[in-house]
């Protein structure tokens, strides 16, 4: 049975209250949105969603990575290949980026199912992630949120199969971002909603109904993209959808997460789906695309996932709008980041195992795990007798720590720790924790993050984060 065999999500724990944007006092439980912090971006969020999706699955089986994203930092350089390396996947993996449209997420998922059905891939990891920015003070800023989601598509114990899909393409200058512009722009919203969004999305969904001879009542949940809560409501009305059937779009909690938005909703729906349920997911962007899934009995056997609900529970508020602006690099400092050529790409190439994959060595003679990879064993002095040893998926502990007030961050200090990971000692930053909460020997796990901007480009490395049960 070909279909989705696993899923996982990532929503940054930092939440910006919409009141904070307006400079108003925040209220407990008031509307907010998820925002990537200064060491996060679309690809770091994608990495964590992928890690969550792969929990309990054999990474050796993955032979394709499809990465959907409209906000990847590089115009030329593939995100999927970075994900594959960071996840320490086999080298023979096929990698594709899907970009340029808010439909990139459903495009990638559909392409993965096509590839597995055609027999050109066996197990494809699909990751959709976006970190879009509206200009400060704009309506877009209020509605956007950041999130990533990942699915494993394969032939086996699929938890949901793709029954049908339907797409329409359209050309409309309604929502866009030009190369080099950090902000998404939109034409007048009444035009966008009346001429673009509403009719296209309705066309996509009804097109799927017609193609498959089905109706709204055949579906347990219908999830669809919307630029904001209001237009979400108008599509639900235009399609005459029963309220119970509409998948909660999470405006006011997470926000419109671009090309991952409808897939985040799909993952959220799968968390509570029952065998036999049918789920419809429709995306919008330069047209529309609707996918119809059937949930299988395997959904009950899938180990609990770090999905959308898991992440919604883990949140911390951003203290001020100013800090948000700093975190998103929207405030100019006196010192522009230097236009240096950055760290040696040659060195980085040699150190990919350590820096991108957090892979160290285990000594074949004495068994000692060490990081970074060595030629001579730190413990028994044996030479060149090592095997690769992945640390990123292990649990470590904090051996010692300090709080660095000099490291540039919107919210100093930065917690820096030396972690023990199966005997290897790794010096790294500790995130998602207040300094006063750090304790010696606390257990930690690892997340892929931005470390610095040397060379004017994002540089990525792993960071420790408190182990969450």
């Amino acid at each position: 049975m070909i279909g989705i065999t696993s899923y996982g999500a990532y929503v940054p724990p930092t939440r910006l209250a919409l009141a904070t944007i307006g400079g108003l006092p925040t209220q407990e439980g008031g509307p907010e949105k998820a925002v990537a912090w200064n060491d996060e971006d679309a690809v770091t969020m994608a990495m964590t969603a992928a890690v969550n999706c792969l929990r309990g699955f054999d990474r050796e089986q993955v032979d394709g990575v499809f990465f959907a994203c409209t906000t990847y930092s590089f115009a030329e350089k593939q995100g999927a290949a970075l994900l594959a390396r960071g996840l320490d996947l086999p080298r023979r993996v096929r990698t594709n980026d899907f970009a340029g449209s808010l439909r990139a997420g459903t495009n990638a998922l559909r392409a993965a199912v096509d590839a597995v059905s055609a027999g050109t891939a066996r197990c494809v990891l699909v990751v959709a992630s976006d970190c879009r920015m509206g200009a400060p003070g704009s309506g877009l800023e209020l509605n956007f949120g950041d999130a990533a989601v990942a699915f494993l598509v394969g032939d086996g114990d699929a938890v949901a199969t793709l029954d049908a899909s339907f797409a329409v393409a359209d050309e409309l200058v309604d929502v866009w971002r030009t190369a080099g512009d950090p902000f998404v722009h939109a034409w007048e919203d009444r035009f966008v909603v009346q001429e673009g969004y509403t009719p296209r999305l309705v066309e996509g969904v009804t097109g799927l109904f017609e193609k498959t001879g089905s109706q709204a009542r055949d579906f347990a949940k219908i999830a669809f993209f919307a630029p904001d809560a209001r237009s979400h409501g108008s599509v639900a009305r235009a399609l005459k959808l029963d309220k119970q059937k509409v998948q909660e779009p999470l405006f006011g909690r997470l926000g419109n997460s671009g090309c991952s938005f409808v897939l985040v909703q799909l993952a959220h729906a799968l968390e509570t789906a029952k065998p036999g349920d049918r789920i419809l997911a429709a995306s919008y962007g330069d047209g529309a695309e609707a996918l119809a899934f059937s949930v299988t009995e395997h959904i009950e056997k899938l180990e609990e996932r770090r999905g959308v609900s898991w992440h919604l529970e883990r949140r911390r508020g951003v203290k001020s709008y100013d800090r948000y602006l700093k975190a998103r690099n929207l405030q100019r400092g006196e010192y522009e980041s230097p236009r240096d050529q950055g760290l040696s790409a040659t060195v980085h190439f040699r150190e990919r195992d350590e820096e991108v994959s957090l892979v160290g060595h285990r000594c074949r003679s004495c068994g000692a795990v060490q990081f970074p990879q060595q030629r001579v064993c730190e413990t028994c002095f044996g030479k060149d007798a090592f095997e690769r040893y992945r640390l990123s998926d292990k649990v470590g502990k904090v051996l010692t720590y300090t709080f660095d007030f000099f490291f540039p961050t919107p919210d100093p200090p930065t917690v820096v720790a030396i972690c023990d990971i199966d005997g290897a000692r790794v010096h790294m930053q500790l995130v998602n924790i207040a300094p006063e909460a750090v304790t010696l020997d606390m257990p930690v796990e690892f997340e892929f993050r931005r470390i610095h901007q040397s060379g004017g480009r994002p540089n990525y490395y792993w960071k420790a984060t408190p182990l969450t049960a």
């Binding site: 760290l343 040696s344 060195v347 980085h348 150190e351 350590e354 820096e355 000692a368 060490q370 990081f371 970074p372 730190e378 413990t379 051996l399 010692t400 720590y401 300090t402 709080f403 660095d404 007030f405 000099f406 490291f407 200090p413 820096v416 030396i418 005997g423 290897a424 000692r425 790794v426 010096h427 790294m428 930053q429 300094p435 010696l440 470390i451 610095h452 040397s454 540089n459 990525y460 490395y461």
Partner: protein, 382 residues
Amino acid sequence: MARDAIRDKVSIVGVGCCQFGENWDQSPADMIVDAAYEAYADAGIEKPQEQIDAVFTGSIYSNKGPHECSDALKLWKPVTSVSNYCATGTDAFRCGVMSIACGLYDTVLVVGYDKPKDRGVAGPSVVMTQVRDLPQTPAGWFSICASRYFEKYGAGRDDLARIAIKNHHNGTLAPNSFLKREITLEDYKKARLISWPFGLYDCAAQTDGAAAVILTRSDLAKSFRRDPVVVKGVTVFAGPNPQKDPTMDFLAWKPSIEAGQVAYEMAGVGPEDIDVAQVHDCFSLTELLTYEDLGFCEKGAAKEHIQDGRFEIGGGLPVNTDGGLKSFGHPTGATGVRMIYENTLQLQGRAGERQTPDAEIALSHNIGGYPTACGIAILGRA
């Protein structure tokens, strides 16, 4: 291996040290000339081009050390430049000592210098060669022992404060020091944090500076001056990076312990024989750990000795009599040589208000890198 192979064979006959500080209007050459000519005068050397056989220099910021030094002094000689983190100055000195002890040269000049203030940034440079090198300052590296040490031995920031206050005070007594400012416990507590537990006053002052020493064969020393100081032992050590060393306990710095043992054996003395010491106080905790790592007191006992005032001027074992890196300043390559300068003055009874009565054996110590590198020199009255 004969640990006593160089003991007493080489003597210091001249020392010099320029004003440490933000020397905006001085080039490296200016500082090198100031320090070297003071050392020449101290040794009674009038024709350095004839009397100096070789030069050993140390700097970590300069990438043209040998030429910078020979060109400044117009010494067209065998010139060697050494780079060994914060042990750079001591290592240049060690190379000079060995070159004489082996009989190759009679008289050599050692110059340590650095000019961090020309870089346009405060604090030390952060050299990143790998993505995973956290863009962190040394404060972050040297603070990694704090959480474990404090938990195990009950020491804390109050003990660090005593060290900072002492070194600020001592700095006011040294003519060429950078910071000449007393601080109070209240100042200490109010200061901004740099990397916990270090606040501003736990950190060494980043300055420019140069220091110089003239070394000669001990049998020739008296022809330069009547009170030469002999080199009893000098060593360096490269230890494992504590950030990845699987056996690191975060209670002590291994390079200090290892180098200390060797230096004591070379000199034929023990910690109880040391009358005055200059130790690496790049951060207050580094000085505290060094008391223990060099055996000035038992492991874990530093805080009692600090509270008793043992390491203050007038105490049983004065440490950092000239204000140390903290107040005198820390031009990395110069620091080890500056300590030898101060210890030489102490052994010759020329340290003025800072003088340790009847000092016969003096020790200087540097530790740097992550930290990985240590250098120790033990000097004695001839």
